[in-house]
């Protein structure tokens, strides 16, 4: 039973699930297993999500009926495989707001997508003295490539700070984004704090100074309705595995005008037009950026992933997470000694909840919770600079998705309440 929502209106519902979670849970066979003699409570969704049966089946179906290499083949299977692969591209283009199909490039994940931009657009456009702007809450995937590019090109890396309550501090933004800025690379949603950043506003600021903006959508696309045209981003990257899809599939969206001027990244089959020993011309978009045999089965199964999400509805998913997040935060903030990182206003954040206990290391928290069947993540979450700013060596992180419900939160809260007693601190 899916609730109808007023378009984009945000409602915190107190006593009712937006989604029929039991029905959804039934689509995920992995959830129906005991872990350490407890029901599995999977709260590590910011790391990777579980896959519904229909997505697993779609991948099987590909291998069992139409497996072939794509693009060059004239035989029946090759044609079917190519059509299925290209159908996903069209679907992705629709899913993120109706962009051109040739603006969608398949990669093996967000990390490769961002590196592709650094190696091609960055290599060509960043020069000595230029400025690249990132934020203090970036994942290493949207940080390390820019640190290294800045070093190599003698460009300046500047950063937008994070306020104590977990938001981007835009008070000095005029000093940070300047006419020297060439690129603003910013995460749409923080994987540590949950913060949803004002991408559209930042895009405007960047464009006003003649810079372009890359959005890291790894945590946003799975949890929010995303329209890259509304956001106004020039590049946008995300991973299928964080949104119920297969591992080894990612997407780089890039504006056609930009993609066309860029040199290719990896080189080999499919991405060339003509090749001699001296001279090479590149294939048209999007093929120019897809060298070699891609993860065909994964891309084909990603089509079903998008269908699954659409059937539930991204607005409903967002609404469900807000409601559950509200429920979770209300209880977690009551637990003795527990510190929550990141914004507490549910309408400005997603479902990644980082927390710490001054007396218990996050690893011990994670091990303790795991013994109760609860899967969370503990560590620096690939955001070491942010950890330093938070003055933590690590945090524990519980992160929500569509199959989580109040029972899962209750299990987490109950276990955390027993934890201090267990460790005797």
């Amino acid at each position: 039973m899916q609730a109808k929502l007023n378009n984009k209106e945000i409602i915190v519902k107190d006593n009712k699930d937006v989604l029929d979670i039991n029905q959804i849970k039934a689509d995920f066979p992995i959830l129906n297993q005991p872990i350490n003699n407890h029901r599995l409570v999977y709260l590590d969704n910011a790391a990777t999500t579980q896959k519904p049966k229909s997505v697993i089946d779609a991948q099987n179906e590909f291998y069992l009926t139409i497996n072939a290499n794509i693009h060059r083949g004239l035989h029946t299977l090759a044609e079917k495989a190519t059509n299925a692969y290209e159908k996903t591209r069209e679907h992705v283009a629709q899913f993120i707001g109706g962009v051109k199909t040739e603006e969608i490039i398949f990669t093996n994940g967000t990390t490769e997508a961002i590196n592709m931009v650094a190696y091609t657009w960055g290599e060509k456009n960043i020069n000595e003295g230029d400025e690249i702007v990132i934020t203090e809450m970036e994942h290493h995937a949207n940080l390390v490539p820019w640190v290294m590019l800045a070093k190599k090109k003698k460009a300046l890396l500047k950063r937008i700070p994070v306020t104590p309550s977990g938001y981007l501090d835009l008070s000095n933004i005029d000093k940070i984004i300047t006419s020297k800025t060439k690129l603003l690379a910013v995460t749409h949603m923080s994987n540590v704090l949950g913060t949803i950043n004002p991408i559209a506003e930042l895009a405007q600021l960047a464009h006003d100074k003649g810079a372009i903006i890359l959005g890291d959508g790894a945590q946003a696309v799975p949890h929010l309705p995303v329209d890259v045209k509304e956001l106004g981003v020039d590049f946008y990257a995300f991973s299928a595995h964080k949104m119920l899809g297969p591992t080894g599939v990612g997407v780089l969206y890039g504006k056609k005008e930009l993609l066309e001027t860029m040199p290719p990244f990896n080189m080999g089959g499919e991405m060339i037009d003509t090749v001699t020993f001296d001279n090479i011309t590149w294939a048209e978009l999007p093929h120019k950026f897809e060298a070699g045999t891609p993860n065909i089965a994964g891309v084909v199964a990603f089509d079903e992933t998008l269908h699954y999400l659409e059937k539930i509805g991204m607005e409903n998913i967002r609404q469900h997470e807000i409601t559950l997040l509200d429920y979770a935060l209300k209880q977690l903030t009551q637990i003795d000694g527990l510190e929550i990182q990141g914004p507490l206003e549910v309408t400005n954040r997603g479902g990644a909840i980082s927390f710490t206990d001054p007396k218990i290391h996050p690893h011990d928290i994670s091990t303790f919770l795991d013994s109760r069947g609860i899967a969370i993540r503990a560590g620096h979450h690939c955001a070491q600079p942010l950890m330093k700013i938070l003055q933590k060596v690590a945090t524990a992180r519980a992160s929500l998705y569509i199959y989580n419900d109040r029972n899962d939160i209750d299990a987490l809260v109950e276990a955390l309440k027993k934890m201090r007693k267990y460790f005797g601190v």
Partner: protein, 161 residues
Amino acid sequence: MSDPLDDMYREVILDHYRSPRGKKPIKKKDIESEGKNPSCGDEIEMELDMDNGKVKDVHVNCHGCAISVASGSMLAEYIKGKSLDEVKKISEVVKKMLKGEVDNLPEDLGDLDALKGVRNFPVRIKCALLAWMTLIEGVKNYEKGKNHPKASISTEDKEKE
């Protein structure tokens, strides 16, 4: 007692964790070594005051999880008064035990025996190892001669492991 968690977090481990030994700074630092566990963020600093081939005093400062802190604390308690050879021997024994290469500790080693429970939690073995690898590296460095800089180790260094 069927919960393997209790097997790792034994009372003696939790006791070392709550009140770690070897916290007191020392003046004479013949062996200095630091270690870290980058994926976890665990960090340890260790100093040994050597006297006549024996460990006269130890200072261990560990920021990390219960296992790494307890392991460092047990180390501090155990090696005090031991000869360098004994220190090297016990370090290797603990390393082997944690990695599952030997089944039991050869003699009665008191609290150290409690580290056995960690073996059921493979991802936590690194935490228990950290102090011992840091010690081994410090001793190695010490044996090379006086002018070596402070030893340092990371648990992700395959070669040094």
